[in-house]
Point group: C2
Chain length 336, copies 2
Amino acid sequence: MVEMKTLTLAEIEDLSMRALVAAGTTDDNARPLAVATAATEADGVASHGLAYIPIYCEHVQCGKVDGKAKPTLERPRPGVITVDAATGFAHSAIDMGFEALIPAAREQGVAVLAINNSYNCGVLGYHTCRLAQEGLLGIGFTNAPASIAPSGGAKPVVGTNPFSIAAPGTDGQPAVLIDQSASTIAKSEVMKHAREGMPIPVGWALDAEGNPTTDPNVGLKGSMAPSGGYKGVGIALLTEIMAAAMTGATLGIHASPFSGTVGGPPRTGQFFIAIDPIVTSGDAFATNIAALAKAVHDQEGSHLPGDGRRNNRLAAQANGVAVNTATLAKIEAIIN
Amino acid sequence: MVEMKTLTLAEIEDLSMRALVAAGTTDDNARPLAVATAATEADGVASHGLAYIPIYCEHVQCGKVDGKAKPTLERPRPGVITVDAATGFAHSAIDMGFEALIPAAREQGVAVLAINNSYNCGVLGYHTCRLAQEGLLGIGFTNAPASIAPSGGAKPVVGTNPFSIAAPGTDGQPAVLIDQSASTIAKSEVMKHAREGMPIPVGWALDAEGNPTTDPNVGLKGSMAPSGGYKGVGIALLTEIMAAAMTGATLGIHASPFSGTVGGPPRTGQFFIAIDPIVTSGDAFATNIAALAKAVHDQEGSHLPGDGRRNNRLAAQANGVAVNTATLAKIEAIIN
């Protein structure tokens, strides 16, 4: 039985902030991550919420991320913002970038943000969601250390590399929020099965020769199975091209692990595209999104990607979020 | 045994041009489609090459596409081009759009092209490939009549909706060209099995209640299986949002069929994003793409998406393409 305690979103943000600062993060770098942690708990993605704060703190202390980094921004063209995250947290680099990206997208109709020398950005959909909350269509990409093999090969060349798209709704929240990785299942699930000594279902991971395996340890030494076979490889490559090649960040084949304390900064990347739907389509965007959502919701039991997070988000504002007391104890230990 | 005849690319373009004009297409609208047909044959995608010319001609004659359409272009913001295809061929609308999109992407660093009142654009990757041949990163989306059901539902709400990305190489051709639909298999394969009275494998299509079926006719009345389950639905929605909602085109749930002669113009849409990689990443783009390609090609038997089309394209320039003589006879009958 996991013991839980209900916290308000402000309490979650405050705890996160204090732990990150105690670990050696500047206020400027800690705040965007603390805000994101509260929002991630609100969305119901507990795996990437407070549970990650002790890992972030450990990564500041071991030098995998520079808690005192000062990201730098350039705008080489009217539609392009670039941010060098300087091996700091992705969140402060993205925050700095969005401050320029959002007005640029409104002025130009479209703008992009390319971030390199970065780190794990947590839940990618948190960031695209913010663009949708500003009335913009947001698309995001973030790359990760290689764990998926190419078609016809067995050695990993691309990460489980997620993409996300958030389409603005008429109530200030995304009407659709897609946030999906390129693999059949998250690598963390395979790691969890390995820790617990449980077999994994066929289709989750492959051995070092590219054959199916039910042994999580064999899978971790092989590769993650791409979702839908070669089409999942296509998604991982799409994301690798956008998040690493288009930003000049480190490719998944060269990046240090996101987990553990060795290898120094991963220096991976993020890429965001923000487009003003009113400019490209006038009022048709809202009408079409509403008709698409209706066609889905009129079918009993059917849902759009993002419906769950949206419901959680609205409930959390009013009721707070139940969090694991063991996680809270770890965070309190960092603060005190 | 299928009888084949080898034609040069110029001959394929000329035949396509004459058939389209004979069917009532203006020169301005026929040329981009004839050029695309030759390029599609060169790439080895025979299903969407000359074989489609008789269908295009029939669609001009039945009014599903207006062969004399005059697309109109606007540039509401520096980074946004919109084209109303006026129910004509997608290809002439895309050509008109690209003439503005390519210089806009170079000036602004990024630009987008939103096309509505359009039609089936053939092979989506043909269009993104052209952006890569100009040194730009090209992303494309095109929507289709609904055939995939949402997660938890059984009634189609989105098409098999492909997306494409083309990453420029250093030799004037794309280094990577991804062009993949959201379904496990093309709907045309299920239709072919139905015509031939052959069962389909489990996993290709679902019946009207959302259950697996091996009967192609039952599948055609139900829905196409999304690639990788809910993640394929996510890709179909991504494309629907971009190609229909962002352009003000007709949603897949309202679009007339692409095949057959009934229902009038489908008025579907295309959306393209063009980004200058030198602006977002400097020289790092070419270095990273080369390292990624090397990591794939160093593994025996492994390939990148687009390798096959690329090899076909280079061979076809020198040797021409073998085409089905039965298709040629149909095209000659339209011309004479």
